[in-house]
Subunit: 294 residues, 2 copies
């Protein structure tokens, strides 16, 4: 297939690389020429605009920061819609994490111009992108999903079509609720143990075999014990994702008490200058708040 | 060994049974004679008082409701301390879930009378008690723990000495934070999916393979999808356990934002008459609050 890619950052670069290694013909456009440097010897075709790619490729991926960036790529001047004018077979796949409502809106406008859109946010972070072990949560028509599935399988291990447009973003929002609240609850449990004079490592061990088992207890728990707060997943990014969740909850009229607590703690972390650390650094905030001596 | 047991309820009955099946000589006392009926053919020795058992057995277990009951068993008239007068080799093992502070206090008073105490609350519920798959979290001296370990291994699968007196209760409190908040976060994620018009079953499937994996997502998630709110673990019991957590947090001066949210939702559940349902019924409360149509 001819595959286009926009957004060659920490995540997008290895993801595009896996597609090329999978034997597909890679097409690229980048705002900054230096983003293309890692692809100099890859045989990728470089385009002067997104529209130019959209005229030529079968599937066009984007992996950018937030909803306005996706809108720009999809609907802006020299963007996907403009380039795909007259075509009816292009699939645009946005793998960024944005609000479900924004994803549905963009998909609707693209559909009116004959372009199918899949929202397909991921979890697993940079490590998952590099090792092609991402979890990919997709929303869109079954037909468009089926056409893109072989490409998803080059980038990730767990690929699920969750439902129609926006459903991928909804699943990602659910993922961020579970991981954001899960990390906070674990930090609370560890702070509770420490303040009680009990070794959190022994508590983790005692709980791993029971119903409290989670990947978060196993992996993030060990990193908390090691005081290893390197990301992983940066606090300011989790803050952004929970902003999306809380805005959607506001829009829909839905009370999310534990997600709200997690969102507030992430606000405080960014306020304390911990935005570049992993979200497990919430443990330090709870320890400081509670006067836990270590 | 000669093993005494007080508290032959839903949990205690099968636990005592496993000890007897393990070849130990079972000694029983019960406030209500009908509690002894299931042991009629077991060859167990029935005593007229806890003190009478405490004079004769090597290890005496209790599995009762709350701290005042444990105090009564351990320190009350015709209780453990009275019966063990003059002895120095009795181990009293309380497997109830009570405040760490209360456990340490009772252990201190018993130690002054020559009785070793282990606090050893469990997780895994009635099913775990019946199948001898309980997780057992113990606090007390290494010596006393080692003497009781063969008996623990008849009742459970994951047996850990977490630390000194009270440490078992601290680990149990941590367990109840992780499970209480974990269930709430999952209910929030499912309500979010439902209100967004997305199938929660597909969301669960998409997330099972990633970092959001937990036993709660796998097991409680499936039960939420099946609308199976039968306990499992009753809401009023989880409410009680989070009261212990929040009281300890208050006593120690520790902020636990997500545990506080879970405790409040459990209060609301009991207020709404859902106390006898499983704590996953918090999904219904969130659905009602958010006007989620099903």
């Amino acid at each position: 297939m001819k595959v286009g890619f926009v957004g060659l950052g920490l995540m997008g670069r290895p993801m595009a690389g896996h597609v090329a290694k999978g034997g597909h013909s890679l097409h690229l456009w980048a705002r900054r020429p230096e983003s293309l440097a890692p692809f100099a010897d890859s045989g990728a075709t470089v385009h002067a605009s997104i529209a130019s790619m959209a005229r030529e490729v079968d599937v066009l991926f984007s992996m950018v920061a937030d909803a306005p960036d996706v809108e720009q790529v999809a609907l802006g001047p020299q963007g996907v819609a403009e380039g795909a004018a007259g075509r009816t077979d292009l699939v645009f796949v946005d793998m960024s994490t944005i609000a479900p409502d924004a994803a549905r809106n963009i998909a609707g406008q693209l559909a009116a111009k004959g372009v199918s859109m899949i929202d397909a946010p991921v979890s697993g972070g940079e490590v998952g992108a590099i090792n092609a072990t991402l979890t990919i949560m997709a929303g869109g028509t079954q037909d468009a999903f089926d056409r893109v599935l072989p490409l998803f399988q080059l980038m990730g291990k767990n690929v699920t079509r969750v439902g129609d447009s926006g459903a991928g973003q909804v699943a990602k929002a659910c993922n961020q609720i579970l991981t954001g609240v899960g990390v906070l609850a674990l930090a609370e449990a560890f702070a509770f143990a420490e303040k009680s004079g009990v070794d959190a490592a022994r508590v983790r061990e005692a709980l791993l075999g029971g119903f409290a088992y989670s990947r978060i207890l196993e992996n993030h728990g060990q990193r908390m014990l090691d005081r290893n707060f390197k990301p992983g997943f940066k606090s300011w990014m989790h803050q952004k994702d929970l902003r999306i969740v809380m805005n959607e909850a506001h829009r829909m009229g839905l009370a999310l008490p534990s997600a709200a607590a997690a969102a507030q703690m992430l606000n405080a972390m960014v306020g304390q200058g911990l935005g570049e650390e992993d979200s497990i650094a919430v443990l330090k905030v709870l320890e400081d708040l509670g006067g836990v001596e270590r």
